[in-house]
Subunit: 346 residues, 2 copies
DNA sequence: TGTCAACACGAAAACGTTTTCGTAAACTGT
DNA sequence: ACAGTTTACGAAAACGTTTTCGTGTTGACA
């Protein structure tokens, strides 16, 4: 077991100073060709690599990006990470991941843990609990300390930082318009409670589409599901709520769901009620998950391009980190959604 | 913007030495209550936190775990990460993620990048390309440098390190036995080429189950899919191969697929052939993905407990890192699979 | 031979900690 | 009053780099 070798050890072996070794390895002109080659050969033989930690300490840069997301077992978030990682890696950065599990406390702890020198900047999506409590002090403090943040998907206007979002309103509007164009007369939305920013925005898009088509929204067609029900454990409760939606709206012929699980569950309930998709009922979901593609019938969906979101977020952050001048203009990039038509619509 | 404060700055402000500040903050008895309280108050006010990088350099420990996996947009792998993160976090460790994208070169680069001081140890699952080339020098070198590795799922016996695997053979055998018990007479397997270790093992389980039931394996019932076809882009090619499987085996009444996608695709093909599931054809998959649960009919599957695998891997690694005595006995932990019966079997 | 530049290298500081050791000053006991 | 002990603190090393600056040696040139 040969441990990693250091400059000091090379210096001692070759009977020169540490500075000489360092300079030789960096091809400094100060060093004679003789010693330079000697040092380089020795270093190569012992497979010398500079210690990242020492470099980080010296340069006050870690070349590492911190990601804080609510959960990782989720197609969208893993796509985003994948995008971040790709760009980060290409530009010489590593990626360190913290999970908030939608908890405010864990989000704060994770950020504090990483903010003490471990990383150069954050890319994050806010936990639901944080959104509920509307306590954003940990974000402002981090930014005040000079550590840049890029938020994606679940963002909040109170914080002044780079953001990458999708055009939730427009995406939802396009989806609902599609349903209306396809002849749906009674389009319902299955959404979340309003504190989830994206749920709220998508609901807004739904309303705008109705308005544009001169249709009055009906309260009974708007199902705001309590958030607990998103967890896989409460599927039957979710099914029951959706079942009620059908019961209360006999003429329901179109559903726009703000996420994949709601959409798939709606399909399941419809099937139990012997409704034919897309003949009797058309459904559109939101997200670019794996379920939509493989469901039967496959689900028409508003794709968010998670990978692209991640890539863009990483670019923004790294550009910010490597910018010379200190002026930071906070940019908000909108990644366009795309309606992917499959078999759940006509 | 107030930057992070350091010991040195506190020392200067309070007109004491750095050592005094450090000791005061760590409640050393060497320091009088007077100065101790003064320093602590000051530190608290300025929200002092020790710099992680400096600590890492001093302690030669980063309290960070490196994860290298083939891809992250995958239910199983994200479950594993989730498990690792949970345990790591609880024990005061962070998690840094590198993706190999199944490429040997990227796996090597990622490991080299992290091995130079950034992390204390690795948890990884081997890239397919690495498995093909059977070049494991980067693993042995890392271990020789005194950096522990824990492998999971895709492991290789040539490397001597802790491993966490599932009982692939037994899990497959249980699944196939289930099909046979349920009355299937012609059970096919859809698997990968043999260099993917888990594919090979699961095929072995299939064969053992047949043997135990005194059934001779038929070559035409064993479909070894070329690996390229796992990518989402080649779904139709995959469908065609499976379609051929049906064509060549008219009496096919059971399918065991070594992953979720193969199983779902088989269901899709079966549907097109107007086969009823589970009446005409029973299907069992392998993995604990989200597709199985929400497919229609829902898919009976061999669950691998990805979360548990991650937790166990993290425990093994951290225990190893924090062990006093240097003797490392390489442990291989087997996480039992579980057959989750759903609607694709009788 | 004396002066100066070029050359080749080393010493030391800096990044932010922790910890060992040394030492004044104050206190103890007789 | 004096030796010995405790108290309270500071200096410095160490972790592994990079970089600035200083310096001894060499060679050239007048």
């Amino acid at each position: 077991m040969k441990k990693k070798i250091t400059l000091k050890q090379i210096a001692r072996e070759l009977d020169v100073s540490i500075s000489t070794v360092s300079k030789a390895l960096r091809n400094s002109v100060e060093i004679s060709e003789d010693t330079r080659l000697k040092v380089q050969a020795f270093a190569k033989f012992y497979n010398y690599r500079p210690n990242n930690i020492a470099l980080s300490l010296k340069n006050r840069k870690t070349k590492t990006i911190g990601i804080i997301i609510p959960e990782i077992v989720h197609h969208f978030f893993s796509k985003v990470i994948s995008g971040i990682e790709a760009v980060a890696n290409k530009r010489g950065y590593n990626v360190i991941v913290g999970l908030s599990n939608e908890s405010f406390a864990k989000e704060v702890i994770n950020m504090e843990m990483l903010a003490n020198g471990s990383i150069d900047g954050f890319i994050l999506s806010i936990a639901k609990e944080t959104l509920q409590q509307q306590d954003y002090h940990h974000f402002t403090e981090t930014i005040n300390q000079g550590m840049p943040i890029v938020m994606f998907d679940r963002v909040v206007k109170e914080i002044n930082c780079d953001k990458v979002i999708v055009d939730d309103v427009l995406g939802a509007k396009k989806a609902v318009s599609k349903l209306l164009d396809n002849g749906c007369k009674n389009v319902a939305i299955i959404t979340t409670k309003d504190y989830v920013s994206v749920g709220k925005l998508r609901t807004q898009g739904y309303l705008e589409a109705l308005e544009e088509n001169k249709i009055n929204p009906k309260a009974s067609l708007i199902l705001k599901v309590d958030d607990e029900l998103l967890s896989e454990d409460h599927l039957d409760a979710l099914e029951k709520e959706i079942d009620n939606l059908f019961k209360n709206n006999k003429k329901l012929d179109g559903i726009f769901a703000v996420n994949e699980l709601y959409a798939i569950t709606a399909m399941k309930v419809a099937r139990k009620l012997s409704l034919k998709i897309p003949e009797d009922l058309q459904i559109i979901g939101f997200t670019d998950g794996v379920l939509s593609k493989h469901a039967v019938p496959s689900l028409t969906t508003v794709s968010q391009h998670g990978q692209k979101i991640g890539e863009k977020a990483a670019e923004l952050l790294i550009n910010n980190l490597e910018r010379e001048d200190e002026e930071d203009v906070c940019e908000t990039v909108i990644i366009e959604t795309e309606l992917i038509e499959r078999d759940s619509t006509k």
